[in-house]
Structure formats: C-alpha cells, structure tokens
C-alpha cells in the first residue's frame, strides 16, 4: 500500500512537472522569438547603415547576442568567410539545422528561421531590406500570437500535467 501511495505521488509529481516544463518551454519560445526579432533589426542596421557583407553582418550581430544565437551566427559568418564554394542558402540552412536541439521554436518558426537565408544576398540593398522586413513582420506575428494566449496556455499546461498524472494514477492503481 505504501508503495502504491509513493508511486502515485511520484506519478502526480512527474505529471505536474511535465506541465510546468511545457509552460516554461512556452516562455522560452517567446524569449527566443523576441531575441530573433532583435537580431533581424540588428541585421537590417548592419546591412543598411554599415553596408556590411553578409558574413560581416552575421559576425557583428553574433558577437552582440546570446546563446544559442551568438554561436550560430558567428559560425555561419566564419563558414562563409572560408569560401567553401557552396551557395549562401545551403550553408545557412546547414548551420541553423545543426542548432535545432538548442531551440524550442515550433517546426513552423524554425523553418522560418532557416528560410531567412533564402533571399539574403540576392539582388540589391532594397531586396535585402524587404526580405528582412518580411521576416520581421512574420516574427512579430508569432510573438503577438503567443503573447495573447501565453498566460492561459501556461495554466492549461500546468492543469493538464496534473490531470494527466491523476488519470495515470487512476488507471494504474
């Protein structure tokens, strides 16, 4: 009996923790999106006002931001400076993909991050600005979408975690 009670408590605890973890992931995702928004703004500044090339811009912005963005941007910039002989988009995608596990962005948001490399470096300054502006708008949409529902979602995840735990306890015990 004691074992059953101990097991139930552990299951309830684990369920609760899962709920809290999911809530924290939401907060983390919002933080990542806000950080990404700042990165896009900084890239715009680097390209428009400093007239930096893409590797320069990535290195400069990378040195001004935090993990995992800093490491990812610096690595992309350094790799481009190696002139490996591959298109920008291919190299950007490869570097971003290697940091997949460091982000809690949704699949769609992560695909957007990868897709940012698609039009960078192509055509003129106006094109770079338009492309970054488009990314900026999309990220803003992600952020506003999350901010509107985050508080409720966190509560929901917490409840679901505990409820899930109770359900498992009821089924097993």
């Amino acid at each position: 009996m004691i074992l059953k009670i101990a097991g139930s408590i552990l299951i309830l605890f684990a369920g609760g923790m899962m709920g809290i973890k999911s809530g924290l992931n939401l907060k983390r995702r919002l933080w990542e999106l806000k950080r990404l928004e700042r990165i896009v703004i900084m890239l715009k500044g680097e390209i428009k006002y400093n007239n930096s090339t893409l590797p320069e811009a990535l290195l400069h912005v990378g040195n001004k931001t935090v993990y995992p963005f800093d490491e990812m941007l610096v690595r992309a910039g350094e790799q481009l400076n190696e002139y490996e002989g591959r298109p920008f988009y291919e190299q950007w995608t490869e570097v971003v993909e290697s940091y997949r596990d460091e982000f809690v962005l949704t699949k769609e948001q992560f695909e957007h991050l990868k897709g940012m490399g698609e039009s960078l470096g192509y055509l003129d300054m106006e094109m770079q600005m338009n492309s970054l502006e488009l990314s900026h708008i999309q990220i803003k949409n992600y952020i506003s979408g999350m901010e509107g529902t985050m508080a409720n979602n966190i509560k929901l995840y917490n409840c679901l975690g505990i409820m899930g735990g109770i359900l498992v306890v009821l089924i097993i015990v």
């Binding site: 007239n51 090339t53 893409l54 002139y83 298109p87």
Partner: protein
C-alpha cells in the same frame, strides 16, 4: 607576398581547381580575364596565356577551358562575399575591390535609370587585376622628392598598368616610416578604391607605414577635407585624380599646409597638360615634382622626374 588562397578562393570550384593545378607564382601574375563562353586568359610575367581544358596553359590553345554562365555567377558570388548589394556603388563604377586589394573589373548589361547607371546585370566578363606590393620600389625616387624639411608636392604620371599605385604605396610607406636621415611624416591616405592600403574591415592589408592613417572607400575630395580636419596629416596621398572637385580639394589641402602626393593617368607631362582640370595643377605650378613612369624596361620604370617649370631634375 599576397596570399595565393585569398585570390584563388574568389573563383568557382571548377576554376579554383584548375588554377591550383597551375601552381602560379602570384608575384608574377598580373591579370585574370574571364568571359562567358570564352577562354580564361591569364597575364603572367608580362605575357598572355590561355588556360587549357586539361589544366595547363599555353599562348595558343587548341582546347581552351571555356567559362560557362554558372561559373561566372558563382565567381561573382564569391567575389562579393555573397553580398552583391554591398558593392552597389562600386558596381556602378564598373569594378569591385576585393580582399588583398585586387581590383575586379566588370562588364555586362548596364541598367540605366533617370540617366544614371543603376547597376550592371548579366555580368558577362570580369578582369581581375592582381595587386602587388613592391617594397623598396620608391627608393630610387625618394631623395628627389624630399626637400629641406618635408617633401615637394609630387605628381606621379603613368599610363594604366605601369605601376603608379605600387610606387605611390611604397612612397607612402617610406615617408611614413622615415629613414635614418629623415624623420617619419604623418601621412593621410584617401583610398577611394581600396587599392593603396587594401583595407579589409578597416585594417590595411598592405604595409603603408607606421604613421599612416587611411580613409578607406572614401571619395577623394571629401576624404582630403576630412583628413585635414581630423588627422592633421603632413602629407596626403591620393590615387588617380581627375574630377574638378578633387582638383579643388587638392588646392585647398595645399593651402592648408599639407604636402601632396597624387597619381594621374597619362603618358607624359604634355599629355597631362592637355587634360582639362588636371592641367590647371601643372599650369599653376601646384606640383613641384612630376614623376613619369612607363613599362618599356618593365613595370614601374621611372623615365624622368621634372620640377615645376618642366625642367628635368633626373632622367633614370
């Protein structure tokens, strides 16, 4: 010596491999020309060679290596470091300066908007002129431009490809470092095309001396004003003067007490004297020394040095 890899990595992978196979001595390489659907031509040690399909080179080739459109596109991507947008102003002038100071001339379809060149698209041929740093090449003219306390205002006259930028760069280096008998002078360089100091991210890649300040990619006329106001140079060095604004700025800089070294395209003093604008500098005896270069006895051959009255100071 320039880094060979810095140059070779500017090309598409196929071309890179061929150039690596050639094991060229970059110090003797002067030009690489590429044209879509045409052969790749190198100017090496004063002679032209065609790159062959099998990786060799020859002055006449039965099977030349033909450059295709994709290779040109890829090469332009590397030349611009994946960022053609960052070179819009330079492309409008028809060239890009890359790391190492090499100048890439471009031709293709010119897009004109409101009477102004907007860009060049469908780039069909490029000409990479290899920048060379020849330390000591100015030693033979150095004493001729020194006066009691400083230097004479000096104009270097030469046709294209005769080494006037190389001579100017070494003059800057030697004046800036000074010699055992002469103190070093503070030199300001307005390097509009990044050919003198070859700055990369603001840092000179060429040795331009310990007392040299460089304004990289800055229009010459504005750069001279900026240097005078901010860096108080004793000597200002500029390459390839021509426009009226530049000429007015030279006069202003000289009035401010700066000594001036400049280069100009031309084959002789008479040739420059016929050119509107620049001739006023000669007529008004602004320059006190004129160094004439040609390449009859090799690039950078100094034929004569004249004083302000057109009298030959030295014939070499």
């Amino acid at each position: 010596m320039k880094n060979e890899n810095d140059l070779i990595r500017l090309f598409s992978i196929n071309i890179r491999n061929r150039l690596k196979m050639l094991r060229l001595d970059i110090d003797r390489l002067q030009e690489i020309r590429m044209r879509i659907n045409g052969p790749m031509i190198l100017k090496y040690a004063g002679r032209e060679y065609i790159v062959e399909e099998n990786g060799g080179i020859g002055q006449v080739s039965q099977r030349p290596y033909i450059v295709v459109q994709n290779e040109m596109r890829e090469t332009m991507e590397y030349i611009s470091n994946y960022s053609l947008y960052a070179f819009e102003d330079e492309i409008r002038q028809g060239f890009i300066t890359v790391q190492g100071g090499h100048r890439v001339g471009i031709s293709g379809k010119v897009v004109v908007e409101d009477g102004h060149i907007k860009t060049i698209k469908y780039i069909s041929s490029i000409n990479i002129r290899i920048s060379h740093e020849v330390k000591g090449c100015a030693t033979k003219v150095l004493n001729s431009i020194y006066n009691a306390n400083s230097i004479y205002h000096t104009l270097i006259i030469s046709p294209p490809g005769c080494g006037k930028t190389t001579l100017l760069r070494d003059l800057v280096r030697q004046l800036s470092n000074g010699t055992q008998k002469r103190r070093g002078l503070t030199v300001g360089v307005v390097d509009e095309r990044s050919e003198i100091a070859s700055c990369y991210m603001g840092i000179p890649q060429n040795d331009v001396g310990v007392r040299t300040d460089v304004l990289d990619c800055c229009p010459k006329d504005k750069g001279m004003m900026m240097l005078i106001r901010s860096m108080a140079p004793e000597v200002i060095a500029i390459d390839e003067i021509g426009g009226m604004e530049e000429i007015n700025s030279i006069k202003y800089a000289i009035n401010c007490g700066c000594r001036m070294i400049a280069t100009v395209h031309g084959s002789s003093l008479e040739d420059v004297n016929r050119r509107y604008g620049v001739n006023s500098l000669i007529r008004d005896e602004i320059f006190e020394r004129c160094i004439i270069l040609d390449k009859i006895r090799g690039v950078g051959n100094v034929t004569a040095i004249y004083d302000m009255s057109g009298k030959e100071v030295i014939r070499l």
